[in-house]
Symmetry: none
Subunit: 236 residues, 2 copies
DNA sequence: AAGTGGTCTAGACCACATC
DNA sequence: ATGTGGTCTAGACCACTTG
């Protein structure tokens, strides 16, 4: 077999990350000092230093000179213009993705939704409501409408096994996407599903997706502001 | 004189970045090897190595083990969120843009701001607070810090006549921009300036802008959620 | 075979935090 | 006064690419 040689500093990183992600070292906890880690792990201080610097630049820990190294506060991140799969995003942070299907049914389009699809009121639409979890913490309340002609079997899909995003991608490639980012207060139902404190706002993403010149799906994604943000970094 | 102590590896980074940005080292050119730089700059190899690793992780160079270090190709990226001038945006909607300069002064960098600039605490920075209006309705609370070396006359500019955005653009083209979008509750001062109802959240945009490998300005833009959103529409 | 980056060490000095 | 992270050095071994 390949039996690669893994750099020491990466093993140190992994070791520390594991302890953080297992919850043994909670947010805000002070990590052992560099010198302590040198003793414990029998590596040189430069190696520990590099591992910790890496973890800091990746946002897992925060270092304060003269004071110590601390487990960082988690803030889920997402790229605004990229259409990403929430499950992949959670997993890319080394966390577990979970979800609960609150509702999945066939409905008549309410006026506001019909307008967003540009279809007559009372048209038939599929409607799904799903809550997504990152390591058993709710991070997204997803409410979606889908044009039945576009995805006839949507109503029968198992969205605990596949995300709505993946399912929609399998139907057809999107041609055009509109995205709107807002802040807002969740209603009582959403607040409860997301286990948010009263008075805490949501970061909201509204999407419309076109295929063949028709809106085929709209979604409203609500996230607790305290643990979710969009970020991007670009060269010009 | 302040005469800060700047880390050696940062001086090495700056030296190399200058050569790249002056065009002396074109895209794809191979840089001197680590050992050559050790000779030329009279520093240890570990210091050169760290500088080059940093530059690689920032995307300025590409390193190929066994082969060499090369100036990276610039890639055109589509903007996730466009950097727009608030005044132009308001005018494009056919409204009148107004603004009020709440504060414009010379300050010592607080710890959190110093960290965002990656400069020593207590360094001198310019600090401005401006409220923007759309047809006499407040829409943005702008708090900005600026590196004095980058814009020495910032403190004397008239920001009722020109936006901070325009002013910064006149100094130099930015090379890299980080943008973070959050939702949050405004503090009492901001709520009052923006004439917001109690309990109404803000849509917040945090920005950092790099020139010459240094953060030259950071800004926090807070907008009333009820009248402000980001939107985009793209073909795929 | 020679050169390159990738990693690792042991020891050092410093500025800053905290007690 | 002690401990912390931040930096720097001189030297070493390695795997890989190149001529």
């Amino acid at each position: 077999m390949s039996e690669q040689h893994i750099p020491l500093y990466q093993m140190v990183k992994r070791h520390i990350l594991d302890l953080i992600q297992n919850g043994e070292w909670q947010e805000g906890k002070r990590l052992p000092s560099e010198n302590e880690l040198v003793q414990d792990l029998s590596v040189s201080r430069m190696t520990v230093n590099r591992a910790l610097r890496d973890l800091a630049s990746e946002g897992h820990v925060q270092r304060i000179s003269g004071s110590g190294t601390f487990v960082a506060e988690k803030k889920a991140q997402s790229h605004p213009l990229e259409i990403r799969n929430i499950a992949e995003e959670v997993r890319s942070r080394g966390h577990l993705h979970g979800c609960e299907v609150i509702g999945l049914e066939d409905v008549r389009a309410p006026a506001d939704i019909a307008m967003r699809f540009d279809i007559p009121r009372q048209s038939r639409l599929y409607h799904s409501i799903i809550v997504h979890f990152e390591s058993s913490k709710p991070i997204q309340f997803e409410e979606r409408y889908v044009l039945p002609e576009f995805a006839p079997e949507y109503i029968n899909a198992d969205f605990t096994a596949i995300t709505t995003y993946q399912y929609m991608m399998e139907q057809d490639a999107f041609e055009e996407v509109e995205q709107i980012v807002q802040a807002g207060m969740p209603d009582e139902r959403v607040r409860s599903y997301l286990q948010m404190d009263a008075g805490e706002p949501c970061l909201i993403l509204l999407r419309r997706t076109w295929v063949g010149g028709r809106v085929v799906t709209t979604s409203q994604l609500q996230h607790p502001a305290s643990i979710f943000q969009f970020s991007s970094r670009n060269r010009y």
